[in-house]
Each structure stands twice: as C-alpha cells, then as structure tokens.
C-alpha cells in the first residue's frame, strides 16, 4: 500500500543529500565545517547499515521503528563509520525527510545520539530502539508546507 510504504535512502539519495548539505547556498549556516569526514568509506558504511534494514527481518517495522534502527545502527557502526553521533543524525533526518516527515527538536535528537553512543556496546539494543521509536513518533511531523 502506498501510504504505508517506507523508503530507505539509496546511495544516490545519500550523495545528493551530502552535496546539498555542503552547498555554497547552505554555507551561511556554518554546517559544512562540522560534518563528518565524508569519504567513499563513509558512504559504504552507511549503505551497509541500510542494506541490513532491507532484509526481510525488518519488513514488519513501522516508520518510527525503522528510523530508530537506522539511528541506532549508524551510531554503533564504529568499525565502518566515523563521527557516528553526527552521522546518525544526518542519515536519520534524511530517512524521515524522504518519508515526508520532519524530525525535531535538534537538541533532543543530539541528546539521544550522545546517550546511545555512551551506552555499552550493543547491550539492550532492542530496548534503546523501542524507546527511540517512541521518541520519533512524538517528535516527527508530516511535511505539508
């Protein structure tokens, strides 16, 4: 069904997303200098996580649960992705954007990134993802105008 379709970002989406985040037009906001070091390895690391979420095991997740899995897994993929906290925020915002949702508020999203990064290994992954999904449910809005 169209209205329950969940889109995951493709590598092309990710490239365009980073291109626009680092565009001259947006340079006035001062974000470019603080983004993670974007390299082929970074793209590959993120796409590896997305690949996992494309597996049948994740088919039954709703939008918020899927967003939570993405956020958590990017945050914890230290062996593949640098600057995990920032990467998890950037990629999860993109995920909700392409599903016509706006993620907010930035400070609380940052707090989640820090809390998960500080948590020990992948202990209680399901618990974190469940709580995070609830947060996303409460803190995303449909994009209309």
């Amino acid at each position: 069904m169209e209205d329950t379709q969940i889109d995951l970002p493709t590598e092309s989406d990710l490239h365009w997303w980073i291109k626009y985040l680092t565009s001259t037009e947006n340079s006035i906001f001062g974000l470019s200098d603080y983004l993670p070091a974007i390299s082929d390895d970074w793209y590959q690391g993120v796409m590896n996580v997305v690949g996992v979420l494309n597996l049948p095991h994740y088919n039954k997740l709703n939008l918020y649960e899927m967003g939570a899995c993405l956020f958590y897994k990017v945050n914890k993929a230290h062996n593949q992705i640098d600057s995990n906290k920032r990467s998890s925020i950037i990629v999860t915002f993109l995920f909700f954007l392409i599903n016509s949702r706006l993620l907010y508020p930035p400070k609380k999203v940052k707090d989640w990134a820090k809390m998960i990064a500080r948590s020990k290994g992948r202990a209680r992954e399901d618990w974190w993802e469940s709580r995070l999904a609830e947060f996303f449910k409460q803190n995303t809005s449909t994009i209309k105008d």
Partner: protein
C-alpha cells in the same frame, strides 16, 4: 505541527513534491526534496552538529 524552515518560493513547491511518495518522484523532484530538506537541516541542526563535532 512543525513547519519546514524555508522561504516562500520553496514553500510553493512543497505541497506538490511532498504529496507523492518519494519513490514515485522523478529524479529532479527527488533532488528538490533533498535540496529543501538540506536547507531546513542546515538551519536547524547546524548548532548541534557543531557541538557534537567538538566532543
């Protein structure tokens, strides 16, 4: 409801491109979604990304 932090000209495009599922958009429309989103993200999340970069 939280609104996109974008200018008037971009708002006119939003109702059209966000009314369809992303995977049903053509390439140029997809790029428009990403461009508008990037502007909103840059405005609203620049501070927290900067803070995290320093930790």
């Amino acid at each position: 409801m939280k609104k996109l932090n974008i200018d008037k000209q971009e708002k006119s495009k939003v109702s059209i491109i966000f009314s369809k599922p992303f995977n049903k958009l053509n390439k140029e429309e997809k790029k428009e979604v990403l461009k508008i989103g990037a502007k909103d993200f840059s405005k609203r999340f620049a501070n927290v990304i900067r803070e995290l970069a320093k930790t």
